[in-house]
Symmetry: C2
Subunit: 159 residues, 2 copies
DNA sequence: CCCATATCGTTATGATCATAACGATATGGG
DNA sequence: CCCATATCGTTATGATCATAACGATATGGG
């Protein structure tokens, strides 16, 4: 006989409704924490006209250099439809440029404009500040631990 | 004289471009981790017609009982405009009901329908499963540490 | 009592997400 | 060589977010 799902024994072997708390769920905590981190960054870069998502695209391009739109999306965790729109908006603001790849007609190569490269270089220190603010309630050791654990959670994500 | 921002000394006192990595930024990690957690939950509840955000609203209501739409939003980290739309969709699917508060004409009291309460009770075990999957790459002690550190990051958020 | 101030819910706008479906192009194995 | 299969980018759809602006209602101090 299988264990009952509705019984809600105080600490049953199959975790049941009794010991459930929304605030203890990793997904809910991650959403709240991301909201906070995102807000901290946005406050600093909004007047430069960028969002956190847009910034992550610019930062990845700054780190890795010019690459295809699709690959850029994978490296920042955006679906093709999503990275497309973000690149589009950054193009409209003359921060990025695109050209079709000479060796593969399917690919769209994304690169900085002069302004784009200059802007992201000026914004990176603001992100570093923002990260420090987000982590401010933890001591340095705890900060390292958190970053390391999150890194392992995400490990097999991108490249 | 102030330290230069563009110099990029290998490990300058003011963290500069040289030691910046997108993958080391708390905000970026949180976004990727949330994406993963959200996907794990969505896969389990999508065929019941709910999203992770909708589920969090239902779960909070299940924990705390009937309350005003605005307060419900605060307790799940949603702005008034946002919680409004989510409640609207759940109402349209007859999972929630609303009535105006007898003692305060501004307030809209949100409560379950029979179906709604029954559905969330059936879905909570799926979220517990989903949380376990999200945390699967960490050992139990590390899982506790992560939850505790995230909790402190978010501490002064709701309620 | 009255009114400045706060709270609640709504509307509008624009960006971010996931998903499904699609055409165009590459590629590799037979 | 050819064709099944994969990859790339696009379009469309619907949900989730933050923000600004607004009317309606409560509230508390003078």
């Amino acid at each position: 006989m299988s264990t009952e799902k509705t019984a809600a024994t105080p600490n049953g072997a199959d975790a049941a409704l009794s010991d459930y708390t929304l605030d203890g769920q990793i997904g809910f905590l991650l959403r709240c924490a991301y909201q906070r981190a995102s807000g901290n960054l946005l406050r600093r870069i909004a007047d430069h006209g960028l969002t956190p998502a847009q910034f992550s695209v610019m930062a990845r391009l700054y780190e890795r250099g010019s690459m295809s739109q699709n690959r850029l999306g994978r490296l920042v965790g955006m679906e093709p439809a999503n990275i497309r729109d973000v690149v589009q908006r950054l193009k409209r603001r003359s921060l990025l440029e695109t050209r079709s790849a000479p060796d593969d007609a399917r690919r769209l190569v994304v690169d900085f404009s002069e302004q784009g490269r200059s802007l992201v270089a000026r914004l990176i220190p603001l992100e570093i500040e923002s990260s420090a603010q987000t982590l401010a309630s933890l001591n340095p050791e705890e900060q390292q631990t958190l970053l390391q654990l999150l890194g392992r959670l995400v490990e097999t994500d991108d490249r």
